[in-house]
């Protein structure tokens, strides 16, 4: 404890960022070898909140695993539940009423907006601007109130069931959502004026943290990280699932490869999600939200199944290996942040620490999802 700070022979020193650090947004640790304020090398250490969700799946029936899914990515929990129910329904051959699929798409997109809002606030906070966080949380509160009325929870939703949803939406929800769309469009305009076009912000993000297409391929980056590097990849479009083919929406793609591109992708995604919600409300069919007959115990035929959805942070995949029992033989969760974060080590070399932490923010990390 009492010896002086040791400099390596090449005059670098090790800076331990995390596990408790304001910029890591959770329990993440990066061992940075620094040369002054420049990063010479970095090694990311994860696993501080590893909970072994995959082992839990092997020990319980398919239905009882539903709540676990929302504990992975607590910010866009809906998309994870969606991925799981889609995987099981596909394998077990359960029919889903159309209304239920529409409700799922609407709630998932609302959850995506709320997730991006938290990212927006936290990201600008990383850059030292505190106020946008409060504005973002104010808007997010509206979504949480709406979703709470329907799903019964505000963060860790367990709303989807195999074959449908837990609760039908009512007129209050539809009306409230339409009000919210209007409000959110105004808010997005304000964010553009206040934050997106701010000179300091642009200077800090443009050209910082380049991720090439090659790097994306080597690391399997998906979601806004890939789309900020000019890769037009969105599971909703490339591999249409649920009722997404019915909607008319764009996939924002920026080819600048820098943090500002990723920032813009997410900001535009919120607008596109609003479009999807609006169309979903317009097209919402009547009918039941749960199938009339559904097997009591869900058993998947032996074999393995893969299913992917577009979560807030990228492609969330789920691989179920079944031996015909009522619980999975092996269940693998493919988390997008896991792959996205991995490229940080390589990409941050030679960056200033301030830029590296802004770059880390632009990857949109949710640590529980990475550690599973």
């Amino acid at each position: 404890m009492n010896e002086p700070i040791v400099l390596q022979p090449d005059e670098t020193f090790v800076l331990n960022v995390g596990p408790q650090h304001p910029a890591t947004h959770g329990v993440l640790r990066v061992k940075m070898t620094m040369d002054g304020e420049y990063i010479y090398d970095a090694e990311t250490v994860i696993g501080y909140i590893h909970r072994m969700h995959e082992k839990m799946a092997e020990n319980r029936p398919y239905t009882q695993y539903l709540p676990n899914l929302s504990r992975l990515d607590y910010l866009s929990a809906m998309a994870y539940c969606h991925g799981y129910v889609l995987a099981v329904e596909k394998a077990a051959g359960i029919e889903v009423p159309e209304r239920a699929e529409y409700i799922r798409a609407i709630t998932v997109e609302m959850n995506r907006i709320s997730s991006h809002l938290v990212w927006f606030g936290a990201f600008v906070l990383d850059l030292g601007g505190f106020s946008p966080l409060m504005y973002a949380f104010d808007d997010r509160e509206q979504i949480l109130d709406l979703l709470e009325a329907v799903t019964g929870s505000r963060l860790t939703y367990c709303y989807f069931r195999f074959g449908g949803v837990y609760n039908d939406i009512d007129d209050d929800f539809i009306e409230g959502t339409r009000r919210f769309i209007k409000r959110m469009r105004e808010a997005l305009k304000m964010y553009r004026k206040l934050v997106t076009t701010n000179v300091i912000l642009m200077k800090r993000l443009q050209g910082i943290g380049p991720i090439s297409v090659d790097m994306c391929q080597r690391y399997g980056a998906t979601g806004p990280v890939a789309r900020g590097s000019g890769i037009n990849y969105d599971v909703r479009r490339n591999e249409p699932y649920s009722v997404y083919p019915e909607f008319n929406f764009d996939i924002p793609v920026y080819s600048e490869c820098d943090s500002y591109a990723r920032y813009n992708v997410r900001m535009e995604e919120m607008e596109q999600s609003l479009r999807i919600i609006e169309q979903g409300l317009d097209k919402l069919p009547g009918g039941p939200v749960n199938p009339e007959k559904k097997p009591k115990t869900i058993k998947l035929p032996p074999g393995d199944y893969y299913s992917a959805v577009e979560a807030g942070r990228g492609s969330f995949g789920i691989r179920i290996v079944s031996d015909g029992d009522k619980s999975p033989y092996r269940l693998k969760l493919r988390s997008p942040t896991f792959s996205n974060m991995h490229l940080f080590d390589e990409a941050c070399r030679g960056m200033l620490i301030a830029d590296a932490l802004a770059f880390m923010g632009s990857l949109d990390l949710v640590i529980p999802e990475m550690d599973r």
Binding site: G47, A91, R218, P302, R330
Partner: protein, 168 residues
């Protein structure tokens, strides 16, 4: 279609298997009766992937190299413990960024007693964490991995929780 290109390229790896049975139905023919190596079409609507490639460990790097050249990205690496057959299986999921939708699964088996597989980190840098995770959970040693220390488990962990005979 990219899937045909992949098949053509993979055929070089399996000279002994003349022509794989096309569009095999998984329900009629259980997996166990399939040959141990080769590639098999799968129904995308049922299984969620298009091509199932079963490999020997020494073919893995070559097959991965082919997929990398053809522009696939690595989705994930999964381990499965087939305790009854006394083997561990590593499953590699690949997908594409473009609209030529094609999901490919590579499978390699290794004995449970001394699990050893070659690493693919030389081709896909992102495999590093996936392989470390698989090493954590199943104890599969990836030969040639530059930094095979526990990732998600504590750094002094000497157990492999996803093995079927693991007791907490």
């Amino acid at each position: 279609m990219i899937i045909d290109t992949v098949k053509d390229r993979l055929r070089e790896l399996f000279p002994s298997v003349p022509e794989p049975p096309a569009a095999e139905n998984a329900d009629e023919k259980p997996i166990q009766t399939e040959p141990a190596v080769g590639f098999f079409d799968r129904s995308y609507t049922e299984r969620g992937y298009h091509l199932d490639v079963k490999l020997l460990p020494d073919q893995l790097v070559t097959a991965t190299g082919i997929l990398f050249e053809l522009g696939f990205f690595l989705e994930t690496i999964t381990g499965v413990d087939w305790i009854k057959e006394n083997s561990l299986e590593a499953v590699y999921d690949f997908s594409r960024y473009d609209f030529d939708l094609c999901r490919i699964v590579l499978r390699v088996r290794t004995p449970r007693t001394d699990p050893l597989l070659p690493t693919i980190t030389g081709i896909y840098s992102g495999a590093s964490w996936h392989e470390r995770e698989t090493h954590d959970f199943f104890g599969i040693v990836f030969d040639g991995h530059p930094h095979l220390i526990p990732l998600l488990l504590p750094e002094d962990a000497d157990f492999h929780p996803l093995l079927k005979d693991f007791k907490a």
